[in-house]
Amino acid sequence: MAIELLGGRILAPYFGSSIYVWGSIITIFMLSLSIGYLSGGRLSINNPHLGRYGVFFLAAAITLLPTIIWSNNIMDWVFVRLEDPRYGSLVASTLLFFIPTAILGMIAPYSVRLLVAHAAHAGQIAGRLYFISTLGSALGTLATSFYLVLWFEVDAILMTMSAVLAAGGVSAMLAYWSHRT
């Protein structure tokens, strides 16, 4: 959610802050999350383990980097080719946000699979996960829009998020492999 919010900031210099820019961002985030949920659930069938779970975090962190480093080049490229700012912002948000958001979407169903030991508890655990992730989204949105943008540059906020994701991913992978040996 924090990335989505900053997405508006990233696109504004090229496509404005009209209502359709937000429409593009929300559409792409919903679309990529839905695909992430589907493939994360699919991946959780075969031999799910904490190591691969960590890979998701690390991959999200890495795929977020081009968004931070090359966002202006990517938007320049789109801006020159697409006259209509509606489709311009839609294509730009696809290129910038689709992959990292889809990977982040894979985490939720995979978490359910890792945490559920008995089918009877599946609902309760899924409920808790939704609770934590949605509450986290709410707090992230609030912190970002009220305070972080007042203190930091957009890229600094995104870099920190990427670093936190990478740290989480690496520690999950380390925990898995140290446990195995």
Partner: protein, 295 residues
């Protein structure tokens, strides 16, 4: 009997407010738009919840006369470039600025950028705004329009930035990058005029950001108005003498609009009266709406 008198007095007092007649109201994509008429004036209002804000008013008896000081102040840019051939106005409102400019400079090509299609319709219908071959309106975000215009190698002799009078500030139109793009869109002797803020820490942040792009500029404030108008040139500023003599040359042509340019030069300051340590507003750091709330 006494009570009747009180009632009568109350009634008489109430008449002026009763006369504020609402002519039109609509909810656009971006805001509530209301057109009201009172005391011989027709006004366009945005954001009606937090006290009516007059965006622009038209004197019904004398439609040429510009009612608000800040609108008249926008013409201060003419003291630097008295004969613009290509003009860009950002923010239409009731259309009083572009209309006056097209009357003053019939040969000039004037482009107006307005984000809200409903405002364009209201200006046409209620404020006598008419487009022509020389005066064109484009419904677009100003940032997008300017980026596109740069790609097409267009230039303007005068850019009037008047997009900040609502309750919400378009933050991407206050950044160093945006000002640089506007600067690059100016012709060699082009002038940028911006209606901006005079209160809160935003004044400092904004002043410093303009300084970083344009160097020294004129800080134009009138005692009768709470607005501050920034007047900046692509190639620095002319001397006070040039500005003063230009002002006396414009007196006759600006008179029908209620503008007396002779009072302007004395109120245009070159002094940097802001806190120069404030952070620049950039595309990376632009919390203008939050900064406006801080003292």
């Amino acid at each position: 009997m006494m009570r009747l008198w009180v009632l009568l007095v109350l009634l008489v007092l109430a008449i002026p407010s009763l006369q504020a007649k609402e002519i039109h109201r609509e909810k656009s994509l971006y805001r509530n738009i209301v057109v009201k008429e009172a005391d011989g004036r027709r006004c366009l209002l945005f954001s009606v919840q937090r006290g009516d804000r007059h965006q622009t008013c038209m004197d019904l008896q004398d439609p040429k006369r510009l009612v608000f000081p800040y609108v008249r102040m926008s013409f201060g840019g003419l003291l630097l470039n008295p004969n613009p051939a290509r003009v860009l106005v950002i923010g239409l409102g009731g259309g009083s600025i572009p209309t006056a400019l097209s009357e003053l400079f019939p040969a000039a090509m004037i482009d107006v950028v307005e984000i809200d299609e409903a405002v364009v319709r209201v200006a046409r219908q209620y404020f006598n705004f008419t487009e022509s071959a020389h005066l064109k309106v484009k419904v677009s975000d100003a940032r997008v329009f300017i980026k596109r215009a740069l790609l097409q190698d267009r230039t303007y002799d005068l850019i009037i930035l008047d997009a900040f009078t609502g309750d919400y500030i378009p933050e991407h139109l206050m950044t160093q990058e945006f000002l640089q793009e506007s600067h690059d869109l100016l012709s060699e002797d082009g002038v940028l005029v911006a209606n901006t803020f005079s209160t809160s820490v935003l004044y400092d942040h904004e002043s410093e950001t303009y300084q970083s792009v344009f160097g020294d500029y004129l800080n134009f404030k009138l005692p009768i108005s709470g607005n501050r108008v920034i007047i900046a040139g692509r190639q620095g500023l002319p001397s006070d003498f040039v500005i003063k003599s230009q002002a006396s040359r414009l007196v006759e042509s600006l008179r029908p609009y209620g503008i007396d340019p002779r009072t302007y030069p004395a109120n245009m300051s070159r002094e940097k009266d802001w806190d120069r340590t404030r952070r620049l507003l950039t595309d990376q750091y632009a919390p203008a709406n939050l900064l406006r709330g801080e003292d």
